[in-house]
Symmetry: C2
Subunit: 81 residues, 2 copies
């Protein structure tokens, strides 16, 4: 059974969406961010748990305010209580 | 010379501020989040680079939407370009 963390999957999907909106590849994003392409792929697939600085680096490269990236958790986050 | 990452320092200060607004101690926060108190202390002092799930856990325990925690980077983030 796939034990992926739903938050990491949601974040990964959000990164992939932002990247596709810019019509850039993982290689391009890797070049801009100096984050290894395979690590980017694992983040997009909800496998890796990125650090704060990695989140900020991705947000900047994808031209998405960091707070906007995190909004995906709000509805889920708030309703969990 | 203190080589702290300004983003980590800013985030740590934001967590400390939110915790003090709730008038809770690091021990309390550690209890709620199951994050080790010394790790919380290192986050608040800008020494540790917390992961996405740790950020979400802290946001939830501090009753601050994750996006709001990240807004501290916006003004700095946007003006850096």
């Amino acid at each position: 059974m796939d034990e992926k963390n739903p938050y990491l999957v949601a974040f990964g999907n959000r990164i992939k969406k932002a990247r596709k909106e810019l019509k850039i590849t993982q290689d391009d994003l890797s070049l801009y961010t100096r984050i290894d392409r395979s690590y980017i792929s694992e983040i997009e697939n909800g496998i890796k748990n990125p650090s704060l600085t990695t989140i900020l680096t991705l947000a900047k490269a994808l031209h998405v305010p960091p707070s906007k990236l995190m909004q995906i958790f709000e509805s889920k986050e708030v309703n969990d209580e």
